[in-house]
Amino acid sequence: MTLLKKIGLIVVCVFFASAAQAQITIEITQGVDEPTPIAVVPFGGVHASDGAAIHEIMANDLRMSGFFRPIAPADMLSHPSRQEDIYYRDWRLLGATYIVIGNISRDEQGFALEYELYDVVSQQRLFRKITRGGTQAVRDIAHAASDQVYEAITNIRGIFSTKMLYVEDMGVDGPSRYRLVKADIDGARDQVLFSSSQPLLSPAWSSDMRQVAYVSFETSRPAIFRHDLVTGTREQLTNFRGLNGAPAWSPDDRKLAFVLSKDGNPELYTLDIATKKLTRVTNHFAIDTEPNWTPDGKSLIFTSNRGGSPQIYQIGLASGRVERLTFDGDYNARGRVSPDGKSIVMVHRENGVFHIAWQDIASGDMRILTETWLDESPTIAPNGAMLLYATQYNNQGVLAAVSMDAGLKFRLPSKLGDVREPAWSPFPK
């Protein structure tokens, strides 16, 4: 065939292709959001556990996030630990979207977990990683792996290696009726930081996690204490008559904001920890309480009934300018600002029932996150994607976690006493 004829043929083919094919675009505007099925396959190699095996700790972490539905190992047709042993069709039939496989070995340090994450639907590996730890660090290894899996799939930083504080009321009068407890975010490895025969309230982490502030009634009236977790020393910061409550650390850990009623009615103040200089922030005959800092350190959000009912307001620390943030419902209190500063989470009352609600600051859009009554004390995860709150279950105070997208609620294992006032730690620095 001559060159000219060849060219002619190609031109004709191209013309045909464009006339024969038209592009349609279908718009997909909705989805069905359900927990993503994930198989964390029991790892090969040596057995490493701390109350639970590594794969069990990981499955629990992932379920707690509200985003995953772990598949029970008993339902798995096989327990592969190498890529060659994955038969995707089996996992597709099981409904798994992701699979985590791996191997645990011993080294001089302790344990090494080699693990891989696969997308079952696309049959692709997302990553292969190794996490190491000492023999006492089995839970840390598991949580680090959970963080990596969560982040690879969602593009959000995992919170499974973070901690929490809570107050436990043992219910029986005595020297350690009330305890300030620090624990892993899944409830494990709880340790008592301080115990008292008198109530403890409102624990708050400093952002470097070295200190905790809380209200203690040990002097027979409420006072704010600073507790150094590294040295174990405690310092009483306030001793005013009346209300001394709701301490909140500034983002740079240099100040605490709190509420005092020493000047007649509850108002907000800030204290410089180093200089002990007390600065009054609000000046209004109404009740102003429950301060929480914005991430830029320039404003406080707080609860006030200056508008006739408890609502959440924001005050600029430099300007003193006050702005109301909530308008839905007759009660909005205990506000907490999200780490990105764009939304708040609060206790909201609707039709006489208390819920935890989320509100976008700019648009004012509000969304109810929890349905059970008597939900209180929301505390936001440092990745902004989840929160912990206190609630009742079987007549006992327990903690529950919920994702900000109002996904599945996860109830943490109950303790001996009534658990309340949770505080989610920042990311470890």
Binding site: Q23, I26, T29, G31, T97, R367
Partner: protein
Amino acid sequence: MLEELEKALKEEERAAAEAQMEEEALSYMELVQQKVQNNWNRPPSARSGMQCELLIQLVPTGRVVGVSVVKSSGNAAFDRSAEQAVRKAEVFPELKEMSPDVFEKYYRQMKLLFNPQDMRQ
């Protein structure tokens, strides 16, 4: 004059045939949309305003044989959820009933624009 009339008639016929093909193509769009939507599980970071475009390849049995992201949302988790939605949908069996020329023209290769309207801001 007769030639012109003939030409006009042929044009009209061609336009009518094309309109009919287009109508048939449109009639299958909703079931494709439904099945993909039923399989689309969005990640927690998804927000209204995020968009990604996928190019998918089908065969006449309605089976998906190729998926690729042609316009990313900028969020890898979002893009991956869209791809997974199509792969999980796997096959649109009703497309077997489509006229072969309609399939070739409109469905052999098509685009899906993932543009959620039901997510938080």
